[in-house]
């Protein structure tokens, strides 16, 4: 039993480190089609912010890319008309899929 405990602890600790390491590589999937999004999946998408509604700290943005438009939510502001790279989780609000932003960065300040 003593040996099994050691083995369990070692596999558990090493495994958790390995999974945390994997999150850096596997966490975000490039969105290739807005019609084929999976709920709760982590995704990455690039596009232009064409609408921004701010409610205090919280904002609802509309992102447009070649495939269409999707709503994204974040605690951020002043992204209107900027080209951004968004990383986040696909969530659902009122039967509409949206991206809950974990990271957003500006790629270009102005229109393409």
């Amino acid at each position: 039993m003593e040996n099994l405990l050691k083995v369990s602890l070692i596999i558990s600790i090493l495994g958790i480190f390995f999974l945390l390491f994997l999150t850096n590589f596997l966490a975000y999937k490039e969105i290739t089609s807005l019609s084929n999004l999976t709920l709760n999946e982590k995704a990455r998408i690039e596009g232009k912010i064409i609408e921004e509604k701010t409610y205090g700290e919280f904002s609802v943005l509309k992102l447009k890319d070649e495939q269409g438009e999707i709503e994204i939510t974040c605690n951020c502001k002043n992204f209107l008309n900027k080209i951004v790279l968004v990383q986040g989780k696909i969530t659902e609000y009122k039967n509409q899929l949206q991206i809950q932003v974990e990271k957003i960065e500006v790629i270009e300040e102005n229109d393409i």
Binding site: M1, L4, L5, V7, S8, L9, I11, S12, I13, G15, I16, F18, L19, L20, L22, T23, L26, A27, Y28, K29, T38, N40, E41, K42, A43, N95
Partner: protein
């Protein structure tokens, strides 16, 4: 009307099947139903489908103690029942243990009805403020569960290990990420322990149902503990029935196995029942079944709520009889089978289910979670600390910065 009744009966049958399959959580079935709801809605109305989900889910909460006690293969809601339940099983009293959880599930029904008006009128008023103190509530509950352990350091280690495992799992793009995580932490780890210990299940005593009577005092204590603890996990994220049961049993200072099993049964059913009420009152979905009902019923009217409450009552009556019958049947036969081989078969079955739903990555998480669960068992740390896998990510989510 005929279709609604048919949906109720079919739901009870489906809930019986899902409840008896070891390690399968009702959330998994609910997710499958949501994804295939477009297909089912061709043949039936949204309300009938919602009735089917509610009666299936309630029946599931009655029956899922049968595999968790007899086979040691719980889902996350029944994970704590293994300890007192398994102890009674090894004394030939597994049937009795299941019946105590049934008493709990039956007690749950009037409590759900009692809480319904409170959840409708009071919860919406306080829920907004609760969100701001959620972080502190979660930290307090986690600390409380660790502090009550004999070896606090080891309990903290297990909490952290499972917490980081949960964080990594939830941050990976994985379908049904909770399935490998919780099945590994709670299900397969206890199955492996049974296989290693070469446990033999003695012949089970099948008492007459009327003879398995908890004392009035035991029922009273369980009701008080349920009333104190179950609202906690009805709207707090990450807090499962097991944690609520531990808190409830501590609040009422009860240490009796019977009372604990009654408490687990009642909380398991209450959390499910009240999740439909919280869906109505604050539009929060605390269970997978509530998510499914939300998606299927676009407008949740007061009439719908009354029908759902009636479904809860009727399906629980049917589920009670089914539990008595099936618990008797399986308890009679459990000693005849080779427990080691059965545990192995269940273990393989769980691994296959994980692989089908969550792929290779899911299987990897399942293996790591199994060893984390094993470490907790071998270190003699209560497995409720393994719920750190959901508590820690929730604490970080509500971190007030």
């Amino acid at each position: 009307m005929i279709f609604e009744f048919l949906a109720l009966f079919l739901g009870v049958i489906a809930g019986t099947i899902t409840g008896l399959i070891p390690g399968i959580h009702i959330n998994l079935v609910a997710i499958f139903l949501v994804s295939s709801s477009a297909f089912f809605l061709k043949f039936t109305s949204p309300l009938s489908l919602a009735i089917f989900i509610v009666s299936m889910s309630i029946t599931h909460t009655f029956l899922d103690f049968i595999p968790s006690i007899l086979l040691g293969a719980p889902d996350e809601d029944t994970s704590l029942s293994i300890l007192p339940g398994h102890e009674l099983l090894l004394k030939g009293r597994g049937y009795e243990a299941i019946i105590y959880t049934l008493y709990g599930s039956i007690i749950a029904i009037p409590i759900i009805l009692l809480f319904t008006p409170l959840f409708i009128f009071i919860l919406p008023k306080i829920f907004f403020y609760l969100k701001f103190i959620m972080f502190f509530i979660l930290v307090f509950i986690s600390s409380y569960l660790i502090i009550r352990e004999e070896n606090k350091l080891l309990a903290f280690l297990i909490f952290l290990l499972s917490g980081f495992l949960g964080l990594a799992t939830l941050n990976l793009s994985l379908k049904e990420s909770l399935l490998p995580l919780l099945t590994g932490l709670f299900g397969s780890s206890s199955l492996i322990t049974s296989i290693i210990k070469k446990e033999k299940i003695p012949k089970q005593k099948i008492l007459n149902f009327k003879k398995i009577k908890p004392k009035i005092r035991e029922i009273k204590n369980s009701i008080i503990a349920t009333i104190l603890a179950s609202p906690l996990c009805s709207f707090l994220p990450a807090l499962g029935s097991s944690q609520a049961a531990v808190i409830g049993s501590d609040m009422t200072k009860e240490k009796n196995k019977k009372e604990f099993l009654i408490l687990l049964g009642s909380i398991n059913t209450i959390v499910m029942g009240l999740s439909f009420v919280t869906l109505y009152s604050i539009q929060a979905t605390r269970t997978g079944s509530a998510v499914a009902v939300q998606k299927i019923l676009e407008n949740f009217t007061p009439n719908n709520l009354i029908i759902i409450l009636a479904t809860i009552i009727f399906s629980s009556i049917l589920a009670s009889f089914l539990t008595i019958f099936l618990a008797r049947f399986f308890s009679k036969n459990v000693s005849r089978i080779n427990y080691k081989y059965l545990s192995m078969a269940v273990l393989i079955f769980l691994a296959v289910v994980v692989f089908i739903f969550s792929n290779f990555l899911g299987l990897l998480i399942f293996i790591i979670a199994t060893f984390t669960g094993l470490a907790a068992i071998l270190l003699k740390v209560r497995r409720t600390n393994l719920m750190g896998c959901l508590m820690l990510p929730s604490i970080l989510l509500y971190l007030p910065i």
